[in-house]
């Protein structure tokens, strides 16, 4: 079978499943008793197994299979979750990831996994479980674990009851297909066709949809109501090719009822293998599913399958541009309808406005991805690193829902990995030193993301040792990064920034974690290539804060539209503290700088008409409209002619030709089709 065309999909989906595994395993570590989480991991592993087997990656299939066995043991409460067990499972997940990446890089996805497989096998058989003595097919476990193949609801029981009254038999049938069966769905269809001829199929496990989607192992179960003798049913089914085993047993109504009562008492003991038919792709959806899982502790919380398709970003861009056209025409229609005063037209235009508004949200959201997609791999990494370094570290993630353009998301992962490693390795001290310094034994690393202005900030803050000025300077001088004379003149911030220079590594011992020669300079370069900046502030003994500022290449932002002469400018709402009207007499002079006293603070005024050379005669109004903006803890008052109002706008770049214009961060298209420029408040506050 030519599987090349599916390769990309396989890689993407495998990555998603591995990510899901990682997340859930971490969760499991915190709540070892929660079987629902095990089910989640099991489901991901199971799907991965199926996919990799189909694609012919035996090592992956083999390893996932073993992992699945262990998980199954946990699920059936035969094994308990321990840190050691999770370690092995994590290693397995890591190796799976490695193989998937290898495949993505064009490799064969081969890796020597025998060691891990053996470990898993040991775990699996380590406990005294008689059934787990040899390699176990999950289905066999199912069989052993449950003598009862199927469970019935009231309606199905009624059907059976009625058929018994009419002298029909009820059989439970297990059908096993050959392991290498290629067209499972076709075989299922043939089996069902036969069964339908003989009687009525009232139940199947997995469900018919799953069977059609080939979403099961070799065995499936059906309940049949028929008047044919038991042996005939079995013989007929065996005639279907690639069916290796058919077990038929007759059941009575009493048995079933008894079983049902039993199951009601032991809900957890009937594991239902259920796989999302199509892996949930979008993060938002995963998020939904996750929250849904958290809110319901019942057993019916399996991930709802939702169908997704992958779309080229370019197409989304085209869609977006076309949509913009539509918005502009909407604006025109609105003004036309205002002039005409035709109520029918008004209504239609209003309706159209609402629909396009919804449409706009959908289109914009399609391109935006929460940073969570990057952040969610860090808890796992921090756990591992903390164990490797014998440190106790608690990672807090704040603002994972902050949305960033997909293109930025794709690039930001590696720099963050570097920075977090750096914080863990060089920042947070070992538990002994921390205790000696009167700090809590467990170090805290906070990973934070938020929108501010036209930027997204990602911060990594630790409560570790901070940056040692002397040590950094000594190193920088010895590496020839700064001269001795210059070194003495540097302030603390400048010293901190030295660690971003190339060829710098302060760890006394080159560690496996962050001292590999490629240092933080790579981080700096990457971030700058994305049009961002990185800023370090550090207090010795208290900790460090790495702050990355990234531009939003495309985003909706809220702005305040202001008028300057004939021109309209947009000021990002996130920079604005408040607006005010001031009298000319309130303006004070301090060193050629006009300032106002605003709530007890001296705030410099920036006359935007001067900054932007607005062509018009200067007016001497008594009152001035001022927008108070901030950058960090600094403030400024932007003087404008008048406020127009608040609006949601789409941020657009000025194009490559005008790559950097002073105090303008981008442009947007207004409802009337004209372009308005967006003021970059950061540039106006020095």
């Amino acid at each position: 079978m030519d599987t090349n065309q599916y390769l990309e999909m396989f890689i993407e989906e495998s990555k998603e499943h591995l990510q899901a595994c990682n997340e859930h395993l971490l969760e499991l570590e915190k709540n070892p008793e929660n079987i629902a989480i095990v089910n989640e991991v099991f489901r991901s592993a199971h799907t991965l197994k199926g996919m990799s087997a189909t694609m012919g990656y035996e090592d992956i299939a083999n390893l996932t299979h073993k992992m699945e066995n262990v998980l199954d043991e946990i699920r059936n409460s035969r094994l308990h979750v321990t840190a050691e067990l999770l370690d092995v499972v994590f290693v397995a997940v890591d190796q799976l990831e490695e193989m998937v990446l290898d495949i993505a890089a064009g490799g064969k996805g081969k890796l020597d996994v025998t060691d891990t497989v053996q470990k898993l096998h040991k775990i699996e058989t380590g406990e005294e479980i008689p059934v787990a003595a040899t390699t176990i097919e999950p289905a066999v476990i199912n069989e052993v674990a449950q003598d009862n193949w199927l469970s019935y609801d009231d309606y199905e029981l009624t059907v059976i009851e009625q058929s018994v009254e009419q002298d029909f038999y009820t059989y439970e049938i297990s059908v096993k297909l050959r392991e290498d069966c290629l067209l499972k769905a076709a075989r299922v269809y043939m089996v069902f066709e036969l069964l339908e001829k003989m009687g009525d199929v009232i139940k199947s496990s997995p469900s018919v949809e799953k069977l059609e989607a080939e979403d099961f192992d070799e065995i499936f179960y059906v309940a049949l109501v028929t008047n044919e003798p038991l042996e005939d049913v079995q013989k007929k089914l065996m005639k279907v090719s690639e069916v290796t085993e058919v077990l038929v047993k007759s059941v009575t109504l009493e048995q079933l009822k008894k079983r049902n009562n039993f199951e009601l008492n032991n809900v957890e003991e009937t594991p239902v293998i259920e796989n999302a038919a199509v892996p949930v792709e979008q993060q938002q959806q995963t998020e939904e599913v996750k929250s849904a899982e958290k809110s319901t502790s019942s057993k019916n919380n399996q991930a709802q399958s939702s169908k997704t398709i992958r779309v080229n970003i370019e197409r989304l861009d085209i869609l977006m541009n076309l949509f913009e056209e539509l918005v502009i025409d909407r604006g025109r229609l609105q003004s036309i309808s205002e002039d005409l005063h035709n109520s029918e037209l008004d209504e239609t235009v209003e309706r159209m406005s609402r629909i396009t508004g919804d449409l706009q949200n959908i289109i914009l959201n399609m391109r935006m991805v929460p940073v969570e997609t990057v952040f969610n791999r860090f808890p796992r990494m921090v756990r591992q690193l903390a164990r490797d370094l014998n440190k106790k570290i608690n990672l807090e993630v704040v603002g994972a829902e902050t949305e960033l353009d997909r293109t930025v998301i794709d690039e930001i992962g590696d720099p963050l990995v570097h920075l977090i490693r750096n914080s863990l390795d060089h920042g947070v001290e070992s538990p002994e030193i921390r205790l000696a310094n009167g700090k809590p034994e467990e170090g805290t690393v906070v990973l934070r993301a938020y929108h501010s202005g036209n930027h997204v900030f990602i911060e990594i803050e630790d409560d570790g040792a901070g940056i040692n000025r002397e040590k950094v300077l000594k190193k920088a001088i010895s590496k020839g990064i700064v001269s001795n004379e210059v070194a003495q003149t540097l302030n603390d911030k400048q010293v901190a920034e030295l660690i971003l220079s190339s060829g710098f590594s302060t760890a006394d011992v080159i560690s496996d974690v962050s001292g590999r020669g490629v240092g933080l300079d790579v981080v700096k370069t990457t971030i700058e290539s994305l049009g961002g900046t990185i800023d370090i502030s550090s207090t010795e003994g208290k900790g460090s804060l790495f702050s990355i500022q990234l531009p939003l290449t495309l985003s909706i932002i809220s702005v305040m539209l202001v008028e300057l002469g004939e021109e309209i400018y947009a000021i990002p709402l996130s920079s604005i503290i408040e607006t005010a009207i001031i009298r000319s007499s309130d303006i004070l002079n301090a060193h050629n700088q006009k300032v106002i006293d605003f709530r007890g603070k001296v705030v410099p005024l920036v006359f935007l008409e001067n900054v932007f050379d607005v062509p018009r005669e200067s007016s001497d109004d008594e009152f001035h409209s001022v927008v108070l903006v901030r950058k960090g803890d600094k403030m400024a008052g932007l003087v404008v002619d008048s406020f127009i109002g608040q609006q949601e706008i789409v941020l657009k770049s000025l194009g490559a030709y005008l790559s950097s214009v002073f105090a303008i961060s981008g442009a947007t298209i207004l409802g009337n089709g004209k372009v308005a420029l967006i003021v970059d408040c950061n540039a106006l506050i020095s």
Partner: protein, 151 residues
């Protein structure tokens, strides 16, 4: 198939600017637009007129006449904006009128005569004489050098 033709002829757009006729290869022209509202961008050289909304894409506009040091364009009904694509960069240029598409034989392109002089010299890649018309082939890479202003 038609490579032979391509080698011999260059398809160009002809536009007028201060009584002279200039040409740019059709392959670099994305479209010709009528004049629409231009938003001024402050702190840019005077030949940058601003930006327009070109079907949802914010496109910078430069005044070629000003760029060549020939004074400001006077905007009229025949004024056109030629949208040029160069290295993934879209720029619109204001011209007095754009009225023709021609095939010019490649071997008829001559280097510019040295007597031309003036500021526009740097921007000229060659000249073509067809009948009595003198067409000036522009050196777009020089004309559309990205602007970096600000601090």
């Amino acid at each position: 198939m038609i490579e032979a033709v391509d080698l011999q002829n260059l398809k160009v757009v002809v536009f007028q600017l201060a009584d002279k006729e200039y040409v740019i290869p059709v392959s670099q022209v994305q479209g010709i637009e009528k004049l629409i509202y231009i938003t001024r961008v402050p702190k840019t050289p005077s030949f940058v007129k601003g930006v327009i909304n070109l079907r949802g894409v914010v496109t910078p506009i430069i005044d070629l006449k000003n760029r060549f040091g020939l004074g400001e364009s006077e905007l009229s009904d025949s004024t056109r904006i030629i949208i040029i694509t160069l290295d993934d960069m879209d720029v619109g240029v204001i011209v007095d009128s754009a009225n023709d598409v021609l095939d010019i034989p490649v071997d008829s392109i001559e280097p510019q005569p040295e007597v031309v002089g003036g500021m526009e010299q740097d921007f000229i890649a060659g000249v073509v004489k067809i009948d009595s018309r003198l067409l000036i082939l522009l050196h777009l890479n020089h004309v559309l050098n990205p602007i970096k202003s600000g601090v």
